[in-house]
């Protein structure tokens, strides 16, 4: 089965083509275009306009790069949510148009679950992981339990990526600030104390953000602040991930989301996994960030498990929770 997936939950619009190959996912193409605001954060309408401008070309290019014909596509998949309404609608509209014109079935999928399933889909030995999903808007620890993907811990205020970007903006680093903070942090030496806020399995970042901004105003070195932000937030993320692993008795951990590209976060989670005799997995970078291939792959899994969707039901859901989906493809 060949599936084309369309992703458009936030600032990226992505189209990917995947092929099912003996229950594993073969990525045939995976193209992403990212909306970069001239200043400030993501404006939902501007982002949606950006997606609308590029989506048709991306679909054509991804089919070309996959070296297939449009007639080879068996399924069209798109992200139903969670995400920004205007962006979701743009991607869903493109998916519906493609599905109708090709006369092929459509499948709307949960974006967060797509981040998880691409792990088992592309990585050997990864079949039932605890996912630490860290991106701009989302920060969740997700694992399969009793028929659903449950959220074992999540941010109570802002996503970790959002926290890094907001700090970056207040000290003059351009969006996305994460990679720049990572570079600066390597040169940091002095640890500045920051709030380490864990409530049960949940986590909060806004207090830390304010404290970090205060350090900058007081004239502390930016390198040291970046170092301290990374050390504190990533340690807290690793801790809640470990708690979820202990709680669910799982011995695999998977990273996903844009912040998973950060080497320090990878190091910490890897060290934690080693100490627990657990295996550590991280998909290739283009499959960690928001992308169409993971959306296509989840579409394949759901379709194969017997789930069907009519065009009239292919509505988006901005607040589509991870634990709303009946996961009938796992037991």
């Amino acid at each position: 089965m060949i599936c084309l997936g369309i992703e458009g939950t936030a600032h990226s619009v992505g189209v990917g083509v995947v092929k099912e190959d003996n229950t594993k996912c073969k990525v045939m193409s995976n193209l992403i275009k990212t909306y970069m605001p001239e200043q400030g954060g993501i404006h939902p309408r501007e982002a949606a306009n950006h997606h609308a401008l590029h989506i048709a070309d991306l679909i054509k290019e991804s089919v070309k790069e996959a070296k297939i014909d449009f007639s080879d596509i068996d399924l069209v998949s798109f992200s139903r949510g969670p995400g920004l309404g205007p962006c979701l609608r743009t991607a869903a509209t493109a998916a519906r148009a493609l599905s109708l014109s090709l006369e092929k079935p459509i499948m709307g999928v949960n974006h967060c679950i797509a981040h998880l399933e691409i792990g088992p889909g592309t990585l050997d030995g990864c079949d039932d992981p605890v996912l630490l999903y860290t991106s701009g808007a989302n920060t969740q620890v997700i694992a399969f339990a009793e028929g659903r993907y449950r959220v074992f811990g999540e941010t109570l205020d802002i996503g970790i990526g959002n926290c890094l970007d907001k700090f970056g903006r207040s000290v003059g680093l351009e969006f996305p600030a994460g990679p720049k903070i990572e570079k600066l942090a390597i040169k940091g030496k002095k640890y500045l104390e920051l709030p380490y806020s864990i409530k049960g399995m949940d986590i909060a970042f806004s207090g830390l953000l304010t404290a970090a901004e205060q350090y900058y105003k007081k004239g502390e070195k930016l390198e040291d602040i970046c170092y301290s932000i990374q050390e504190t937030t990533f340690a807290a993320l690793t801790e809640v991930t470990e708690r979820a692993m202990a709680h669910t008795e799982k011995d695999q951990v998977l990273l996903g989301g844009g912040v998973a590209a950060n080497s320090r976060l990878r190091d910490m989670v890897n060290t934690m996994a080693k100490e627990r005799n657990a295996s550590f997995f991280v998909p290739s970078k283009d499959l960690c960030v928001d992308n169409g291939a993971m959306i296509a792959w989840l579409g394949v899994i759901m379709y194969n498990s017997g789930i069907r969707m009519e065009i009239k039901d292919s509505v988006i859901d901005q607040r589509f929770r991870t634990d709303m989906v009946d996961v009938i493809w796992r037991d």
Binding site: Y191, E193, K199, T238, E239, M268, M272
Partner: protein, 207 residues
């Protein structure tokens, strides 16, 4: 010194050990090499101190908890009474309805007693309750704090509600009985806290 690990969680291990000749439980917090030494040491000593303080304080307000014998802040060890009883999680489903009701009311009263004094347990589950004789002891205040907000008390009870839903799903009226006991003992208006529990349920991300 002989010690036997009876439970290992993500944050600490629980050992049976000897202290001045008798059996005790030791909660030993684990060092984590993934985090900076400064962060690790501070977290371990703070959490050990906070937990010991809460247990001692809860006892003063008439909540059955283990007696604390020793606190080692440097190595993060709390040495406490070895409660030889049964976890409420393991016995609750097997009780007869009137006994189950009585036990749940008792649990609710105890929770109200520490809430009256702004003690938040942080992880009220039936695994963290040990029945010894006719007393329900509360253990593991590792996620606890002092807080006077109704919000936090609501969150505290919400954890128990979810725990009962998952571990005792056939007996979901248990939580109703807990609330019955809670109402009897709480000095403040319990309905305010109950309203908060409903808010917490609605508040999860994307709900």
């Amino acid at each position: 010194m002989t010690e036997k690990v009876i439970y290992q969680g993500a944050e600490a291990k629980i050992c049976i050990s000897k202290y001045m000749g008798f059996d005790v439980i030791q909660k030993r917090r684990l060092k984590k090499s993934y985090r900076l030494k400064e962060i690790d040491e501070k977290l371990i000593s703070c959490r050990t101190r906070e937990e010991a303080k809460l247990i001692i304080e809860a006892r003063q307000y008439g909540v059955p908890v283990p007696i604390i014998y020793d606190v080692d802040l440097k190595d993060g060890i709390i040495t406490m009474e070895y409660l030889k009883g049964k976890r409420v999680k393991d016995i609750l489903n097997d009780l007869k309805e009137p006994e189950r009701k009585e036990l749940c009311i008792k649990i609710g009263k105890s929770i109200a007693r520490f809430h009256n004094n702004d003690i938040i347990h942080g992880d009220i589950t039936t695994s963290n309750m040990i029945l010894v004789g006719d007393k329900v002891h509360f253990i593991d205040f590792g996620l606890g704090e002092k807080n006077n907000e109704i919000e936090t008390k609501g969150v505290d009870l919400h954890v128990l509600m979810e725990a009962i839903d998952s571990a005792h799903s056939k007996y979901s009226n248990c939580f109703k009985y807990v609330i019955e006991g809670y109402k009897k003992e709480l000095k403040d208006d319990a309905n305010k806290v109950i309203k908060k529990i409903e808010d917490v349920v609605k508040r999860g991300r994307y709900r």
